[in-house]
């Protein structure tokens, strides 16, 4: 098969600029910020085309896509924030063409706002350019530092809504630690890598020092180093190689917010939407998933996400771990590498999820280095969900094994 023909698969249907360009000041005599240029241009192209802003499905910009989506109150299903200099916008059109050709979206917004003169002196290539994110401005005063300080609010809301407890979520940490005992490269594999390694109990989790109540240390992921890479190729190439292919059977993405201030329901993430898209593409549903790799920056992240992926009823995600389903030998193995909680978490953990999902479905999970006896599952399907930001953006993949 040759390259798919994208010729004429999409058209540019409108183009507009911000209200005053060149050397502008706004009505109050202030400089116009980069954010203003973006929003004005978006409003103007919406008016020009008659396409309501609410109908925009994909957002493409050089580093601004999350901020723009949130400012506009949109929940896009395609996010691209490729920022590679002045050619970024031609590349955005190319990416939008591919996304439209693929049937993922019908309407894409490519946006640019850059107060290059008004805020000159910062050098080229973007920078702040007069931008203070109003969301950050209105939350900067309140002494939240790092992810746990914010994720704790989600767990408290889950307690309130569903009657769950710290102990319920502690089971996620315990079971995930058990998986790490099967992965010699796991930070918490035995005592060899860390004096804190080896199995833990629910009581250990509850007794660990508080980071941000109700999160104790063991409700939180590791901070470690990691490098990972995967290669994706078309089927003919995949078939020609000596490695076992793992098929990308479904894929979806979404975002709920950028700043957790804008999280509508603190017990729900956009994984419900990203997984719905992925399941639909795959022609499979949650009941067809035989294992899961779920972003576990915190126990609450994994618990909520299991619910969003449809693997458990609302409010009951933690039961998968508590009743042993997620554990080694269980009905639905989850986070078989030992998770971000006990294997490795470098800050952006999505690659670790991908690598382990590949290993499991390609039957290479027990190579003695990255896994010992008992780690390889028989799963032929795996749902992989990454969560970014502060329970903000999500990407879901449905992967299937070649022996399925």
């Amino acid at each position: 098969m040759g390259a798919p023909n994208l010729s004429n698969a999409a058209a540019i249907v409108g183009a507009a600029e911000s209200d005053v360009i060149g050397y502008p000041e706004d009505l109050t005599g202030h400089k116009v910020t980069s954010l203003q240029h973006h929003i004005q241009a978006i409003k103007n192209v919406s008016v020009q085309t008659g396409i309501p802003i609410a109908d925009i499905q994909g957002i493409f910009s050089a580093g601004w896509s999350g901020e723009l989506a949130e400012h506009l109150g949109l929940r896009p299903r395609y996010l691209d924030t490729t920022s590679v200099g002045g050619c970024s916008f031609q590349i955005h059109v190319h990416h939008a063409l591919a996304a439209i050709h693929a049937g993922i979206i019908d309407i894409a917004l490519v946006s640019h706002g850059e107060a290059g003169w008004s805020y000159r002196g910062g050098g080229g290539g973007g920078g702040g350019r007069g931008q203070v994110s109003p969301g950050a401005e209105m939350t900067a005063a309140y002494g939240t530092f790092g992810a746990p300080s914010q994720y704790a609010h989600a767990m408290v809301r889950h307690f309130h809504r569903f009657g769950t407890t710290q102990e319920d979520f502690a089971h996620i940490a315990v079971v995930t630690r058990d998986w790490a005992q099967l992965n010699p490269r796991g930070v918490m594999f035995g005592k060899t890598q860390s004096p804190f390694g080896g199995p833990i109990t629910v009581q250990d989790v509850l007794d660990a020092r508080l980071i941000a109540w109700p999160l104790t240390l063991y409700h939180c992921c590791l901070v470690s180093d990691h490098g990972g890479a995967v290669i994706v190729a078309r089927p003919e190439i995949a078939r020609s190689l000596s490695t076992n292919p793992v098929w990308v059977t479904g894929a979806g993405e979404s975002m709920g917010h950028q700043n957790i201030l804008e999280m509508e329901d603190f017990t729900a993430t956009s994984a419900s939407r990203s997984s719905a898209t992925a399941y639909k593409m795959a022609g499979l549903g949650p009941a067809d998933m035989e294992m899961a790799m779920i972003y576990d920056s915190f126990t609450i992240t994994a618990g909520i996400t299991a619910e969003m992926l449809g693997l458990a009823p609302r409010g009951e995600g933690y039961t998968l771990w508590k009743n042993g389903d997620a554990a080694p030998g269980g009905r639905l193995p989850i986070n078989t590498n030992g998770g971000g909680l006990s294997f490795n978490h470098s800050g952006m953990y999505g690659m670790q999820l991908l690598v382990e999902a590949y290993r499991q479905l390609s039957r290479t999970a027990e190579d003695g280095v990255n896994g010992i006896e008992g780690k390889q599952t028989q799963a032929t399907t795996c749902v992989v969900n990454g969560t970014g930001g502060t329970l903000s953006t999500t990407g879901t993949l449905v992967l299937t094994s070649d022996d399925r």
Binding site: H30, K31, T33, L35, Q36, I39, Q40, I42, K43, S46, P52, I53, A54, E70, H71, L72, G73, G130, Q131, V132, S133, P134, G135, A136, E137, M138, T139, A140, A141, Y142, G143, T144, F145, P148, S149, Q150, A152, H153, A154, M155, V156, R157, H160, R209, L210, I211, A212, W213, P214, L215, N259, L261, E262, F266
Partner: protein, 141 residues
């Protein structure tokens, strides 16, 4: 003692908010087209995408939506641990982040979601009065 915690950089689109705070008023952005209040402040209504926005004086009242107790912090906040961070559902609509006062951070199980709260302002410097929220004396209404 001088205010020793982070002071937010003020953007140029939020001047009415900070001016109001100086006078002890909680100013909120509202859309003239759909009449909805939104928070944080936008250049465009996030609900109906109108750019016809105005600032109104809010009641400064709301309810506790969720909270956490911070046991680990940096800078000036490190001297305050443990303290309670919270999200407040404004009576006018939408939600604001804050540090919640008038609660015991060592007894989080006694803090009630949904409890009534009121805004107050603390001066951080000549231009910045930061809103904090406190559990209302007459809680429960």
């Amino acid at each position: 003692m001088a205010y020793n915690k982070p002071i937010p950089p003020q953007g140029q689109h939020t001047k009415p908010f900070w001016e109001g705070a100086k006078a002890g008023k909680l100013m909120l952005p509202r859309c003239r087209d759909c009449n909805r209040v939104h928070w944080y402040p936008r250049l465009i209504c996030p609900f109906c995408h109108s750019t016809d926005l105005e600032w109104i004086e809010g009641s400064g009242k709301g309810r506790l939506h969720t909270f956490a107790v911070q046991h680990r912090a940096f800078g000036g906040w490190a001297e305050e641990v443990p303290y309670v961070t919270a999200y407040i559902d404004l009576d006018e609509g939408d939600r604001m982040m804050t540090v919640l006062r008038g609660v015991d951070p060592t007894k989080p199980e006694e803090i009630e979601i949904g409890t009534r709260v009121e805004v107050e302002f603390e001066q951080a410097n000549d231009d910045t009065f930061i809103p904090f929220w406190r559990v209302s004396e007459a809680a429960g209404d």
